[in-house]
Symmetry: C2
């Protein structure tokens, strides 16, 4: 959007347009940075500046505020297409899938666009190039609610190629909505990681004063360049303000808030690492880089449904869904329970060779089908409880396990085997 | 279970059986209380005592521990059948539905049973009778995963009767698995409450050293007797140890842990009250008792399904379910999103007169379908976003709203009207 009201007047008087470096003086304070377009949700009295550090701030102007032009924007259209390569620096791959984090501001028009080329993506956070050589690729440009199983597979293959050709780590900019599903899928599909695979998102687009994109990307880069991590993780803000980021294990992370910048939480385990500025501190145990090569086990059988149980959930609902798939993950209540009428539906499904895996909709804590009669009946009917695995992770894992083998009991065995930290040892709980 | 090993030897030597008051001496410490049966999950070296305060503790015995008999159990089978009535005390109704909290220890056999009569229920926590006159009733004796819509209706009617005949509050012992659904249902069905309706559960049965049943029931009683609260709430432990309980608003509470004693959390608002011993402190705004009479609006149309969206969720899944119901509550990703292929399923369902209500599976935060194109498409297809309402609460409310009116737009209007604190004002978020 274009600026209006007092902001428009001040900017016009200064001869400043979006992309120029300007200085705003207000109440004795001075703020210098690149003028950003006005965000549709911003107050008309807010001018957003991108500071030299890469962070955006919103400056509220009032009568008496002064705006002066520091320098006109440099339009280096051709130069921007070439990415620098420094022999002394490590190579980090950036494979973008889309989402808020992969949008960039076009300073000519002021509009926010999804990055369609690697250059658009990387030049929106040029600070990354101070830390490493970036090999950037726009694999997809989709909102994460539109990710499907085949996108996960393509992504896993692309990551494997990058790591097996010398990248010390891979950063995956991703929409936050389903980032936890993707990180779980990558965790199962990628074996012998020679470096971290860091899924990273942002909750505020890069044209907003409070954008978390830059800080999250920088933290992701630190993990790739400065640590021995060899796991799939999700990196996002650790609290609402811009103090530190957290790295969460790919199989134990969930989006737990629709809008906060610290929306992601590790469930049932502590986060793996805390990244504050250039400092990375491991706070939980982590898997180290392997010698490689990275193995991509990308076979997935998508015929699985995830069902949340609730009072009034009818057996016909279960039967209808179970008759269309080869696996059902139940998010039961409490320790993993469903109502009595569902028992016979489970029994019928299991008899037909459908996997019925049980998790808890509480999200926190583990299932235990040995405490109450309901649970014992469920096990007798053939349901498989999977400890403290998140419902979403169990859903992804069951598809992956069914892709690895056609043998019913082998699939169940895989579900109970800790492949990528998805099951917490009881003693740790 | 019976005691074994050293515990059995010491108890035998002391001539003590379950129900007797005994004293255990160990390492200079002395513990006196009623001998409880051994719980099947307890170590054989643990003896559980019920202290005079009502709390259970587990004492680990070792060589050198001493057990002495203080007094034999009093078997007052007949006397126990009569509940005292003190004119100077207020009447509190206890309407039990079942669950762990409604189980009691039979000191003759040592077994744990569901309470089948009001007396069995109340005499398992005789401390309640020091605070009020108890009118107890066992309405159901079921595990809460087996609660259905018609159970909610029967419960609402029974509560209305008690409040309209002089009880100052109603305590509803309930299994914890679906207690949040029941509390939401009661919140919508009961209007003009003349006193609190307190759903209360426990995560450890009353024969276990760590049982939370007594403390939760006492806190519930305090709310009924000592406060002006006129809302449906859930009362459970506020932290894992026995320090304080929290009262959560019935429409904003969710079981967030499968096994911890502080499993319940208020989502998107602070809890209503903190109860520590006899002290009740309101920590958030609350509704005061009305003059009455209590109105029971118990019409519910059960033809609603709750669907969690995930990557790989197929439109056929949505279509199959939507064709069997009159309302669908979607727990979308992030701000409430679903994938593109689901749009046309939503459009088709809405055209047929099916309500499609949108919540977020993040649980925390509100939906907002105005930020991204996905959301705008969902609204254009006829989906109704319902702010920060929990998916479970929206599911219950949609059934209730459809029970109140047959008019499509009136139902939608009801969904957006704050009936029982289920919608947080945006400014409070």
């Amino acid at each position: 959007m274009t600026h209006t009201g007092l902001a428009a007047e001040l900017l016009k008087a200064a001869g400043a347009t979006v992309g120029d470096t300007i200085c705003i003086q207000r109440d004795g304070e001075k703020h210098t940075g690149v003028l950003m377009p006005r965000h549709e949700f911003s107050d008309e009295a807010i001018i957003t500046l991108k500071l030299p550090s890469g962070y955006n701030i919103g400056v509220r102007i009032a009568k008496g505020s002064q705006v002066s032009l520091v320098s006109k924007k440099e339009v280096k259209t051709v130069a921007r297409k070439k990415m620098p390569h420094d022999q002394g620096r490590k190579d980090v791959a950036v494979i973008s899938t889309g989402g808020t984090i992969a949008s960039y501001v076009d300073y000519r028009t002021g509009a926010v666009h999804p990055a369609k080329s690697a250059e658009e993506l990387v030049f929106s956070v040029p600070e990354l190039m101070d830390l490493c050589n970036i090999r950037a690729k726009v694999l997809y440009s989709i909102l994460s609610e539109n990710m499907t199983v085949s996108h996960w597979q393509g992504l896993a293959r692309a990551i494997g190629e990058e790591l097996n050709s010398g990248a010390v780590g891979v950063i995956v900019p991703h929409g936050t909505d389903t980032m936890g599903f993707t990180s779980a899928a990558l965790s199962f599909m990628l074996k012998n990681l020679t470096g971290p695979v860091v899924c990273v998102g942002s909750q505020r687009s890069s044209d907003r004063p409070s954008s978390d994109a830059t800080m999250n990307l920088l933290a992701a880069t630190r993990l790739c360049v400065d640590t021995d991590l060899g796991e799939v993780v999700v990196v996002m803000h650790g609290e609402p303000s811009d103090t530190f980021c957290l790295a969460h294990r790919g199989t134990k992370v969930r989006k737990m808030h629709s809008s906060r910048r610290d929306a992601f939480a590790s469930v049932n385990i502590p986060p793996i690492a805390r990244v504050e500025g250039p400092d990375v501190k491991f706070v939980g145990p982590h898997l180290r880089r392997s010698e490689g090569p990275v193995e991509v086990r990308d076979k997935i059988d998508g015929r699985v449904s995830l069902l949340y149980f609730y009072p009034g959930f009818e057996e016909e609902h279960f039967d209808l869904i179970a008759s269309h798939v080869k696996g059902v993950v139940i998010a039961g209540t409490g320790l993993g329970h469903v109502s009595e009428p569902i028992m016979s539906s489970i029994r019928k499904a299991v008899k037909r060779g459908v996997h019925v895996v049980v998790t808890t909709q509480c999200l926190y804590g583990a299932v235990n089908l040995n405490v109450y009669s309901t649970g014992r009946d469920m096990v007798a009917a053939g349901a498989l409880p999977v400890g403290d695995m998140l419902p979403e992770t169990a859903y992804v894992k069951l598809m992956w396990a069914m892709g690895q083998t056609d043998d019913y009991s082998e699939v169940n065995k895989l579900m109970l085997t800790n492949i990528a930290g998805e099951l917490t040892d009881r003693r740790e709980l």
